[in-house]
Structures are given as C-alpha cells and as structure tokens.
C-alpha cells in the first residue's frame, strides 16, 4: 500500500486506512480545493497563501499554459488566448452562448460542444477546465504529500447531463479519480448543516459567477434530502458585469471595441460591481487602445436599476422549486446564501423580502461549497466510520425524455426524482427482420423535442431478425448518483443483449478523451506508462482490500466453490500487482470484479435484511 500512505518526516504516520481525498469547487470565476484534516475541512491555499484560483487559463505559443492569477493579469493583453468563465461553455454549442458578440474568442464553428481556437491549437472547454483541475490537483498533492485517491467535483444543481459529463471528463483528463459529482447547493448544505447541526427545511440560494441554483433540502439527523431544485445555468455574477459593461459603452458613446478593450472594460465593470457592495458609488477609469479615455461614475441607484431584471429573474426558479416541493414560503426555516454574487446588497434585500426572513451568511460564500465537497469526499473515500457519516439524497434537476411520433417528448424520468433512478420501456419492430432501432434522448420540461435540450441519439443493433412486431426490446435508462445517464437494451424473447451506440449531442467521443489524456500527459511531461501503472495498482490494491473486508464480514454467504473461485481471482490479481504490466493488472481487476458479482448481490440483499431486522418481513 505504499502508494496510499502519507510519509511526512517528523509526523506520526497517518492511520492505515486514511485516504487522500479532496473536494473541488470548479467555479465560473474562481476555483478552490479543500480537504478534511484532523477532522476539520479546510481550503488548501497556493504557495503564496491565496485560497482562490481564478478560473482563467492562458495558452501560450509553444504549448505552455498559465492558470489563475498570472493568466488573469494578462487577460486584457491577450484576450483571444486567455479563456475566462469557461464553465459557461461546458456541454454547450456556440449558439447557446449569450452575448457571443461580446466574447473575445475565436470560436470554431462546428456542431456539438463549442471549441476555441488558440495559439496552442483548438481547445475544448473540457480541456480548459482540465487545466484548472490539474493545477488544483498538484496544489493538493503538494500540500498532502502524496497522490490523491479521489476527488469530489461540484457542479451547479441545474447542470444538465451534458454539462455534468463534460465536468467528469475534465476531471479524468486532469488525472483525478472522480468519486462523485456533487451539486453545489447540496455541498453548501453539508458544510452548513454539519457546522450548525441544523434540522428542518432549508433553501440554498446559490448565485455564482455564471450559474444560479435554488435547492430545497430537508435536513434531519444524518440525512440530507433534496426535495426540489431549480435554477438557471446561464445566470450569474457575470451577467451583472455585462450590464455594467453595456452601461459604460452607452454612457461613453463608444464605437465597436477591439477584443482587448472589451476585456479591459469587462474587468473595470466587475471591479465597479464589487466596489459597490460596500460603497455608494464607484468611479470607472479606462484608457482604451484608441487612446480614448473613459471616465464615469456609477452609483448604487443606477447599478440597482440596470440589474433589477436579473435580480427578479432569480425569483422565478425560487417559486418553482417551492411549488415542486409542495411547500409554501412560510415552511422554509432558513435561507443559506452561497456564491460570491450574493454579496450584492440588492440580492440580499430581494431574498430577505421574498422569504420574509434574514438570509444566513455565516459561512464564507466563496468557500462553503469546497468545504462541503471536501467533507463528502472524506466520507466517500471511506475515511469516516459508518454511523458517524451521513446519507445524501439528491435529485435530477430536469426531466429526461425520449422523442416520439411527431417530434413530441415522452417523459421517462421526471425532474426532482431522487437519483439513482431508472426506467424501462418496451419497443417492438415494425418491419420483418429489423435488427436495429434508433432513439433520441432529450432533457427539459417542454412537450416539443425542439424546445428541449438534445442529449444524445443512440442506436440499437443486434436485435435478432424476426417478424415485424415479434421482437420485444426492453430499453433501460439508468441515471446514476452523478446524474449521468446510461442506456442498455435487451431483446426479451431471446434475451439477446443489443449493443447500444450513444452519440452525445454536446459531448466528447471517447477517442477524443483518450487523445486529450495523452496530450495532458506529454504536456505535464509525465510518463504515460508510469501513470497508467500507478493508477492500475491503486485500483487493484483498493479492490483487493475491499474484497478482503467483504469476505471478513460476509464470507458465510458463499458456497465453498464460490469462495475458492474468488480466492483464485484474488491470487491472480496479487500476482499481476507484483508485475509492471498495467494491462495485466486491469484484466485481473476485471476478473475479480466478475467473480464477485453474485457475492455483491447477496451482500446487498443481506444489507437490506439487516436494515429491516426486527420488523416482520416477507421473503425479499
């Protein structure tokens, strides 16, 4: 287990099982990494002691990148190659981007997820995000003294499936073992609830740099249950900057701007917004490349007026979530404020007015999400004993549906369903000998496919040829605890497994992810094979350990033959682990996983029986 141990000189060795796990808040404006040390969640700062990492990546000629403050300092100088707020582009096409004319980037016009042309080549938002995550991983590894075992990455609760998948892919490219995608308001609720031992019904109002979420949670002893969530994944502090920017352009009667000047004024707009949080007026000064001088004063009253509609826009999702939860405003016992944009006094006022109570601001709105994510990562990594941990029940934010006749949507999993969730549908063929079918999965609440978001088209092949209407194809949709969808299909009369090929509408093909993975290694000058071997070893060790403890607890559930078959697979894995062939280790891991499948099923059954022990139950 050498890979998993912390060995810092002068420190007492960490408990044998302690695993290095972090929570990462991958924000639109800033990102953070936090961990639980000696029982307390803490944000890990950079070498200069700064907790935040500006979510800005600058690509330089020759393949180098700058991330964070250095990139921020050069953004006005090199706008085309300096990517800010990349989170808004995750899982999105060029057509989805608001104010595309004000974004100083060179977009590649292609279907699917948008791409940006930079001096270092064409980059996907997933790769840009991976650069940010990589810096945070390295920061954490340096601070914790070893390779990370796992990470929880937070996403806006209102992110759709494509945006979630893009985030998870970015984590993979950054070399992280992503334990879970956690919704930001839920992460905040964990940090908040555990800090205050709160019980009852709470609303989390999370206005970040680019996204807005409103989640309603029921907190009771050891359980965080999300009852409803709503939001707007294209609404955040950035939009307030944009309003101020437009006001500047209008007031100073500026002609169309160069990308450089545009970026400069956006920076000034943001500074003015932040200044107005504690001051009555802000002066805005900028010298443009045309040597034109902009000098304006923005007062609070004007700022509130030009952003009034944005503030109101957040209240629609608030009402919707309360309705979906089957509650009234008076049922909400506390409102937790999260995200830097909630510092704006007009937001605080609007929320207080709506809920008729003062919002809760006790925790730093910039850090609370990362802290909650770190706490959850600590639980998922198995660092907390059972009984001392908690249960998290989250929901899917948008309904999943499939396209039916006439471009209509049939809902298969409604919004606010607790995840993991599943649904099966049965189809038949309409032609003799038909061996394939195709489906279109969408996400959204509207009745027409064209009004919903296309997630993926998938194609079934390998249906045994039969007469029309004779085949029975059962398609199963499964949404996992990350909110990610998978589809499987089986022909019911013959039991033949149909192969499913998924074409994500705004996703990245597996082959491209592999390429990005290779690029990121060569870029970081890491040895691809050494890395693959290290990862395979960690996986293998972890599985061996998990299997040993499962055997210790429930060996009695196995017949002697089954026990010895698992034993043989374990021995095979141990042997592979002694070698240096990562493919062989992977094969041995697969073999052991396969050998333990019935065992895993039985353990789950036994778990349920124990849960219900003492109650009268029929045969399960």
């Amino acid at each position: 287990m050498a890979l998993l141990q912390i060995s810092e000189p002068g420190m007492s060795p960490a408990p044998h099982e302690h695993r290095l796990a972090v929570g990462i808040d991958l924000g639109t404006t800033n990102s953070l990494v936090a961990t639980v040390r000696s029982g307390a969640a803490t944000v890990l700062p950079d070498a200069q002691g700064r907790p935040l990492l500006p979510s800005i990546v600058r690509y330089l000629a020759g393949g180098k990148t700058e991330v964070g403050y250095p990139a921020q300092a050069r953004q006005a100088e090199d706008p085309n190659n300096t990517i800010v707020s990349v989170k808004r582009f995750m899982g999105r096409g060029v057509k989805d981007v608001d104010h595309v004319q004000n974004a100083p980037y060179d977009f590649v016009d292609a279907p699917g997820m948008l791409q940006l042309r930079t001096v270092a080549g064409v980059k996907s938002p997933v790769e840009v995000s991976a650069e940010i995550l990589r810096v945070l991983r390295e920061r954490a590894e340096l601070a914790l003294g070893g390779a990370l075992d796992g990470a929880v990455i937070t996403v806006p609760a209102y992110f759709d499936e494509a945006q979630r998948q893009a985030t998870k892919d970015a984590g993979r490219i950054a070399g992280l073992n992503v334990l879970r995608l956690l919704n930001e308001p839920t992460a905040a609720a964990i940090a908040y609830g555990l800090d205050n031992a709160s019980e009852g019904i709470f609303a989390v109002y999370d206005l970040g740099g680019g996204t807005f979420d409103l989640s309603i949670l029921k907190l009771s002893k050891g359980v965080f249950e999300v009852v409803a969530t709503s939001g707007d994944s294209m609404l955040g502090g950035d939009d307030f900057d944009q309003r101020v920017f437009c006001w500047i352009v209008e007031q100073a009667k500026l002609a169309p701007l160069s990308p450089r000047d545009m970026r400069l004024l956006l920076v000034r707009a943001r500074e003015a917004k932040e200044y107005l949080t504690v001051h009555g007026e802000a002066s805005i000064t900028a010298k443009l490349s045309t040597s034109e001088l902009v000098e304006l004063t923005l007062d609070t009253e004007t700022f509130c007026r030009i952003t009034q509609t944005l503030v109101q826009k957040t209240l629609g999702p608030v009402r919707k979530a309360i309705r979906d939860a089957g509650l009234a405003v008076k049922d909400i016992e506390g409102v937790v404020m999260v995200g830097g944009a909630t510092r704006m006094p007009q937001i605080q006022r609007a929320v207080a007015e709506f809920f008729k109570r003062d919002p809760l601001n006790n925790l730093d709105p910039d850090k609370v999400v990362a802290l909650g994510a770190a706490m959850q990562a600590n639980v998922l990594a198995g660092n907390k004993p059972q009984g001392d941990d908690w249960l998290l029940l989250d929901v899917i934010p948008l309904s999943l549906g499939v396209e039916t006749m006439g471009g209509l949507v049939e809902k298969i999993i409604p919004r606010n369903t607790t995840i993991p969730a599943g649904r099966a549908q049965e189809f038949t063929t309409f032609k003799d000998g038909q061996t394939g079918m195709s489906f279109h999965v969408v996400q959204g609440e509207r009745e027409l496919v064209s009004d919903c978001r296309s997630l993926a088209r998938f194609e079934l092949k390998g249906i045994p040829p039969m007469a029309a209407g004779a085949a029975r194809v059962r398609v199963t949709y499964q949404v996992d605890a990350d909110g990610l969808l998978s589809v499987s299909a089986r022909e019911s009369t013959t039991g033949a497994e149909a192969s499913v090929t998924v074409k994500p509408s705004y996703g990245i093909a597996d082959a491209d992810i592999e390429r990005m993975l290779r690029d990121s290694f060569s870029h970081a000058r890491e040895d691809v094979h050494a890395r693959a071997l290290a990862e395979a070893r960690v996986d293998g060790q972890r599985l061996l350990e998990a299997t040993r403890s499962a055997l210790a607890a429930d060996e009695s559930l196995l017949s002697p033959e089954e026990r010895s078959s698992i034993g043989a697979s374990m021995a095979g894995l141990e042997k592979a682990l002694a070698g240096i062939d990562h493919r062989r280790i992977k094969q041995a891991v697969d073999a052991l996983n396969h050998a333990t499948e019935p065992f895993a099923e039985r353990r789950m059954d036994a778990g349920i029986r124990r849960a219900l022990a003492g109650k009268k139950i029929g045969s399960l």
Binding site: R19, L179, V223, G316, R319, K320, R323, D324, V379, L380, A381, G382, Q386, L391, L393, V402, E403, T404, G407, T417, T418, I419, P420, A421, G422, A424, Q425, E426, F427, T428, T429, G436, M437, S438, F439, H440, R472, T476, Q478, A481, K503, R542, L543, A546, A550, V589, N593, H594, A600, R603, M604, I608, R610, A611, L612, K615, K616, I617, S619, L620
Partner: protein, 186 residues
C-alpha cells in the same frame, strides 16, 4: 441514422422499470392507509446500507449492485408516497389493472365538476385565483383519497377502487396544469 424512435420502433408499453412488491421491500403491510413514518424510517435504513455513496470506493461489482438496488428502492419509495401510484400498485398486486389509458369513461357529475374547475383555471389570471383553485382541488383530492382507502382497506373492493383511482389521476393532472399556469404568469 433515422431521426426519431417512432420511425424505427413502436412503443409497446411504458412500463415502470422495476416490478415486485414495494410494501414487502420496506417491511410494510400492503394498505392504502400509509404509515409514512414507518416507510421513511425503513427507506432511510435501507438507503444507508445500499446507497452508492457507501460503495464509492468499492469494486465494480458492488457498485453495480448498489446502483441497481438504490434505483429499485427509490422507485418503490416514490410510488408508495404517491397516492395514485400506491393505489395502482395495490390493485396490481390483486390482479386489477387501473387502465388509465384505455378506460376513460367518467360519471357525468364528475365530468361536470371537472369542466367547472377547468373553466376556473382558464379564467384564473393571478396567483391568488390559482391558489384558491388549488385549495378547492386539494379538498376534492382528500375526499377521493378517503374513498379509495375505504374501498381498498375496508371493503376490499379492488375493481370498484379502480374507477376512483382514475378520478384521482384526473385531479392530479389538473394540479399539474395549475402549476404550469403559475409558471406562465411569473
């Protein structure tokens, strides 16, 4: 690739994915009158043992088993909490199909009542009118739920209960339309 699923295959049924006795899963007796506390307690007990968060670091086999079980438990929990689905489930256990899609005949007086509610919904232009309508609807739903309870739990009249469940489903649809109307005026 063809554009629509309709072009390639015909939907047969739109069955719920997971069958089995939901009550048994939670150690409860099948009844329309629900002991919500006992259900919630059993749900949380089970989830605390099978949820994927307990197996984030486990092998693929255990992660898969956990995902399948949690999905099943969530589905059963959701069904039992929802009156229409709970009643349908009990009827199905007794071999009675509620037939939401095929049996749409409703008694005359019920239809008249529904027509009035729908007219009121069309005329409702603000939140307070919608709230008043919702309150009226809530009363009717409660009354129907009571009748369903009597039919299922006391009289064991499952065939008779099916008609009541269809009525309740009607009211649920109206409820959803009221929610949509709220969104429209916001």
């Amino acid at each position: 690739m063809s554009r629509t699923s309709a072009a390639a295959g015909k939907a047969l049924t739109s069955s719920r994915s997971l069958v089995g006795n939901h009550f048994e899963l939670f150690g409860l007796q099948p009844a329309f009158a629900l002991d919500v506390e006992a259900l919630e307690r059993a749900y949380r007990e089970i989830q605390s043992r099978v949820h994927p968060d307990r197996f984030a670091d486990a092998g693929a086999a255990e992660r898969r088993a956990s995902l399948q079980w949690t999905t099943r438990v969530n589905e059963a929990y959701r069904s039992l909490k929802h009156p229409v689905q709970r009643a349908s489930h009990i009827l199905a256990l007794h071999g009675v199909d509620v037939a939401f899609e095929t049996d749409t005949a409703m008694p005359q007086d019920f239809l008249v009542q529904q027509l009035e509610l729908r007219e009121a919904l069309e005329e409702a232009k603000d939140a307070s009118a919608l709230a008043a309508l919702q309150e009226k609807l809530a009363g009717q739903k409660q009354q129907l739920a009571h009748e369903i309870g009597e039919a299922i739990d006391r009289r064991k009249d499952y065939a008779g209960a099916a008609g009541l469940v269809r009525k309740l489903q009607f009211l649920e649809k109206l409820h959803a339309e009221i929610d949509q109307a709220y969104e429209a005026i916001e």
